[in-house]
């Protein structure tokens, strides 16, 4: 019925719609601004470059498309009294390509989002962030003020006081459970495949849901449609390559990227010639394939496939013994179909599959005496189908959609009851199946050029676990051409929770998250937030300030461990309904000049959790974080980059005394004591570690040669993480009989000075 009304109304007005593409490669230009100056009408294209300007009176108009990094283009368009006029823009890229920090838009221009919008990063920013061995998409997101890192070792995202299980990371619309390599040291997403990264840290629009703290949308490139292109990198521990080009017929494109480490090959060779005693049989790979094809004039279908794997073997030392093995991996696939219907309607359909699996097998003994010290299998799966309809009106953009997810989580963790693994893992078996259905309706209304309002509602139904109605609002008002105010608020719900204990010290080293379905007793976790913001921009400079307050309810949390220093990172049961809150002030400033650019973010925040009657600050939280990213061009081909991170210390639980607990012996009817002392710990996380700071630097220079008739760019690069070797503190752990012979608090360090180098190529 609703669809029929939409359809009837669609043909009452003329619409200009189309796609904004890059000149040459014809890849989409995301979030381009399309304007009709004579009518003072404008809109913002979506992440795939699609735009629609409905309710256009008959006549001849100049239509203009602009986007940062591109030269603007205008076209004269003749619009009839009815129907749809399709326009394709191809924007030439600006000659200077060394400006990854873009200052987008002015307050008077239409914003892609009404209300506090996402933090949007172009993929080119990834190469600005001096990397720990590998260019890292997720660590690039950690430069945003809303996002904190728990440690140097983890690329997991902690958004506005939320834990990583409260983030939904979507790669071309497919959720990724654990897109990490090496336990989380770096992201398993090839940066060469990424086009844009959007981080919604709060006040999400109703079209987004499923998590409490953030939605991270990673959109990959389509690939060029004019010729084959290739780029890649050879680094210290791995090499990556991508190739893209047109599909036969010219109406489509493909992108294939892959990465593999060669640590294992190096160490195998070194062991073979006797340089080292034992090889390190560790390897990881990740790969991505995307196929895009036009359907009619403006419709398109795309299929995206993602995989990552890693394996660590510990070779058996004696004949007859079996190798110990750790293996993890993810798979994701998504299918998108987008079809404009009659100009004012846009229908999109999405189907996706995502899985993460891990296997851990450790053995002791040989032959008949062999037994497994741990035998663990985990598999997480999500199959989803979604449909969305957008109705473009002169001042309204109405969206409605529905999504169904089928989750399945299987765990089978067995281990020896005593010993090393008993300290790390609980023994448990469980299978969770959960089906959720979500639906939303939202209207974005722009009554004037200066004012935009967004009102929507989302409903999450998770069967017996519960149903939540989730209203969302947002507004944006441009006070002056440079200055806009934003406000947004919403309610959120989540049907999954983590088995990780974020208060375990091991959580600082390990980013992997194992999820399960919320059970009926605990119900859905919910949250609400309020975000007030201001955005100021002029030529070359933009500043965004957001203040937020967030409350979280019914979080499935393990009670605080009695002994945080030995608490296992994985908790199988005993979850309680917890509460959380966070509030803060964030600033993101970007400035570009003729010689370089800077992005500076600062966050002042507080966060807490309450579970089982105990309130505490989560261990990952830093009250102040300043993250400054700068680059300086050296001529037309060189660039120096630097990243400075300053942060106040993370919380830890202080030692307040010595203690020796006594144990009752029922056989003797009295207490006994052994000779092991204990430290007595004070209020959980009530003190702070020393402040954190780290300076990373990088340098790169490009050389262009003509190879095989094509210009080929070779870019050697060198990067140093923690160039001043600041020994930042990760953990403060008490110890009996320390270096001085007495009881001491020892500080475990974060990453030391770590250089990396390599060569990138592009043709």
């Amino acid at each position: 019925m609703l669809f029929a009304i939409f359809f009837a109304l669609t043909f009452s007005f003329s619409t200009i719609n189309g796609t904004v593409r890059v000149e040459g490669s014809r890849e989409p230009v995301p979030y381009a601004v399309v304007q009709i100056p004579e009518l003072r009408r404008s809109t913002v294209a979506d992440e795939r470059g699609y735009f629609a300007l409905p309710s256009i009176p008959a006549g001849s108009y100049t239509v203009r498309a602009t986007a940062p990094g591109f030269l603007p283009r205008e076209r004269r368009v003749q619009v009839s009294s009815e129907g749809t006029t399709a326009v394709e823009f191809t924007l030439p890229q600006r000659a200077v390509a060394l400006d990854p920090i873009e200052v987008r838009g002015r307050a008077s221009e239409p914003a892609a989002a009404v209300g506090p919008g996402p933090a949007r990063l172009d993929a080119s920013v990834v190469e600005l962030v001096p990397a720990l061995a590998e260019a890292d998409v997720l660590r690039t997101l950690q430069t945003l003020p809303s996002v904190q890192a728990s440690s140097d070792f983890s690329s997991a995202l902690y958004v506005r006081g939320g834990s990583p299980d409260q983030n939904l990371i979507l790669l071309d619309g497919a959720p990724l459970f654990n897109p990490f390599h090496l336990g989380g040291v770096f992201a398993a997403v090839d940066p060469d495949a990424i086009a844009t990264m959007d981080v919604y840290a709060g006040a999400f629009p109703a079209r987004l849901g499923g998590r409490l703290s953030s939605i991270v949308e990673l959109w990959t490139r389509d690939g060029g449609r004019d010729r084959i292109r290739s780029q890649g990198s050879v680094g210290l521990i791995s090499a990556r390559a991508s190739v893209d080009g047109p599909l036969p017929g010219g109406d489509g494109s493909f992108l294939l990227s892959a990465r593999r480490t060669y640590l294992d090959l190096f160490t195998d060779a070194a062991a073979a010639v006797g340089l080292i005693e034992k090889p390190l049989p560790y390897g990881f790979t990740d790969a991505h394939l995307k196929l895009t094809h036009d359907v009619g004039k403006l419709g398109r279908v795309s299929a995206s496939f993602y995989t990552d794997d890693e394996e660590l073997l510990d070779y058996a030392e004696r004949p007859g013994e079996r190798d110990d093995r750790f293996a993890w991996g993810s798979r994701a696939a998504s299918l998108h179909y987008r079809q404009p219907i009659g100009g004012s309607l846009l229908a999109t359909f999405r189907a996706a599959y995502s899985s993460f699996g891990s296997t851990v097998d450790f053995f002791e003994g040989a032959g008949a005496a062999e037994f497994r010290t741990i035998d663990s299998d985990a598999k997480l799966r999500d199959v989803l189908a979604a449909a969305e309809l957008t109705w473009y009106r002169r001042t309204h953009e109405v969206r409605a959609g529905i999504q169904a997810d089928w989750y399945r989580f299987d765990y089978d963790v067995r281990r020896e009851p005593v010993g090393f693994f008993a300290e790390l893992f609980p023994e448990f078996r469980r299978t969770d199946r959960l089906q959720t259905t979500e639906a939303f309706l939202e209207d974005e209304w722009r009554p004037t050029d200066a004012l935009g309002l967004r009102v929507g509602v989302r409903v999450l139904h998770a069967g017996e676990v519960g149903t939540e109605v989730l209203p969302r609002i947002g507004a944006r008002y441009a006070l002056t051409p440079q200055l806009a105010l934003t406000v947004g608020a919403g309610r959120y719900a989540q049907a999954l929770h983590s088995l990780r204990d974020e208060e375990s010290l091991a959580a600082s080293y390990l980013a992997y998250d194992l999820l399960v379905a919320a059970n009926r007793e605990l119900g859905l976790a919910t949250g609400e937030d309020l975000v007030l913001g201001a955005e100021w921009a002029n030529a070359g400079t933009s500043v965004r300030v957001d203040g937020y307050a967030k409350r979280l309810h019914n979080l499935a949390l393990p009670p605080l461990p009695s002994e945080p220093f030995e608490a296992p990172v994985l908790v199988a049961d005993g979850f309680r309904a917890g509460e959380g809150s966070a509030q803060g002030l964030e600033l993101l400033a970007r400035h570009e000049t003729g010689w370089g650019g800077i992005q500076a973010s600062y966050a002042l925040s507080s966060a807490d959790r309450e579970v089982a009657g105990e309130r505490f600050t989560p261990r990952f939280h830093r009250r102040h974080v300043l993250d400054a990213l700068a680059f300086r061009t050296l001529g037309e081909r060189g660039r120096l980059t630097a990243r400075l991170v300053l942060g106040s210390g993370q919380p830890y639980t202080p030692v307040v005394g010595a203690f020796q607990p006594l144990e009752y012996d029922p056989a003797q009817g009295a207490f006994t004591r052994d000779f092991r002392g204990s430290f007595l710990l004070g209020e959980p996380n009530s003190e702070r570690l020393p402040g954190y700071w780290r300076l990373d630097v990088g340098a790169r220079r490009s050389y262009t040669r003509r190879w095989f008739g094509r210009p080929t760019t070779i870019t050697p690069f060198a990067q140093i993480v923690n160039v001043l070797n600041t020994r930042n503190v990760l953990i403060a752990e008490p110890t009996f009989f320390g270096e001085t012979g007495g009881n001491e608090l020892e500080f475990q360090p974060q990453l030391p000075f770590l250089p990396t180098f390599g060569v990138e190529w592009k043709f």
């Binding site: 005593v418 009695s562 002994e563 945080p564 220093f565 030995e566 700068a630 300086r632 120096l640 400075l644 639980t653 030692v655 307040v656 005394g657 010595a658 203690f659 020796q660 607990p661 006594l662 144990e663 009752y664 012996d665 029922p666 056989a667 003797q668 009817g669 009295a670 207490f671 006994t672 004591r673 052994d674 000779f675 092991r676 002392g677 204990s678 430290f679 007595l680 710990l681 959980p684 020393p690 954190y692 700071w693 300076l695 001043l724 600041t726 930042n728 503190v729 008490p734 110890t735 009996f736 009989f737 320390g738 270096e739 001085t740 007495g742 009881n743 001491e744 608090l745 020892e746 500080f747």
Partner: protein, 298 residues
């Protein structure tokens, strides 16, 4: 030039930041923690309360506390209040060595004992009041649980080792009272020359094996074996009588046990259960015994 200035500024800033690096910090504690320990055992006539003061240093392999003398210690049972006295003549004391033969450690001054009229009753509530000469006060409550009912094994069951000589498998079925928060099992050979070893290396012979709160289903406990020695020489026995001692503790002791057992450090909020004003525990326990016979492999 601007780049140079920027680099110099960063280096100056970096040099200032080097002070953030810290060597290990010595831990000195100003506060000497008070500890109070008492478990009321159902059926016992006497009760005891241990009052100690932990030293500032503490740590492994050193006496970490000393007894506190001169305390006013009372147990309130309904309308009756019993004032405990230090070192009741003939009483074993509050603190015993973990195993027979281990070095004795006397805290008689800090051990307050007394006789409750009618003894300690299961399912009854008791209050603990401690007042120190320093003015510190400690108050605790407990409800002594009822003992478990042992459904299996039956009395005098003859238990033989598994065929692959993987030790004894003891199948237990217990009816646990709802007020119990923890059940432990101690397996003791009734002959002094013999020892029964749990399968877990972390638990020594004669030490309690925590069972949690077993449900209606049977619980399996593995015993590594039973052996006897006379003057250090192994001797073979056809059968070794043993006592299964099931201790049902209240929830306070369960919390205390879970928080402190085998821990290198403990949150202060978890280091006290069943009482306020001191570390330690005030709890109740009820014991149920069953005799079985272990028949070792020939």
């Amino acid at each position: 030039m601007e780049v140079l200035k920027l680099l110099v500024a960063l280096l100056v800033f970096a040099a200032a930041g080097c002070g953030l690096t810290r060597d290990p910090a010595a831990l000195d504690f100003d506060e000497r923690q008070l500890g109070v320990y008492s478990v009321l055992r159902a059926g016992a006539d006497t009760v005891s309360v241990l009052v100690i003061r932990y030293s500032e240093k503490g740590g492994s392999f050193q006496p970490a506390f000393e007894p506190v003398a001169g305390a006013d210690v009372r147990i309130v049972a309904g309308a009756d209040t019993v004032r405990l006295v230090a070192e009741l003549p003939g009483f074993r004391g509050c603190l015993v060595p973990p195993q027979p033969g281990a070095p004795e450690f006397s805290v008689s001054e800090g051990c307050y004992t007394g006789v409750l009229p009618g003894g300690v009753r299961a399912a009854a509530r008791y209050e603990l009041l401690v007042r120190l000469p320093t003015g510190e006060r400690v108050r605790g409550f407990t409800q002594v649980p009822r003992p478990v009912e042992i459904v299996a094994p039956v009395a005098n069951l003859e238990l033989r080792p598994e065929p692959d000589d993987a030790g004894f498998v003891l199948s237990l079925r217990l009816d646990v009272p709802p007020e119990a928060g923890l059940v432990t099992l101690t397996v003791e050979a009734l002959d002094e020359e013999c020892l029964v070893s749990p399968a877990s290396e972390a638990i020594g012979p004669g030490q309690p094996i925590p069972l949690g709160v077993p449900g209606a289903d049977s619980v399996v406990v593995r015993l590594a074996g039973a052996s006897c020695r006379i003057n250090g020489t192994p001797v073979q026995r056809d059968s070794i009588p043993a006592r299964l001692r099931f201790a049902a503790y209240d929830t306070a002791y369960a919390r205390y046990f879970m928080a402190t057992n085998g821990r290198g450090s403990v949150l202060r909020s978890r280091a006290a259960a069943g009482l306020d004003g001191a570390l330690g525990v005030f709890a109740g326990v009820a014991i149920a015994d069953r005799r079985i016979v272990l028949v070792p492999s020939p």
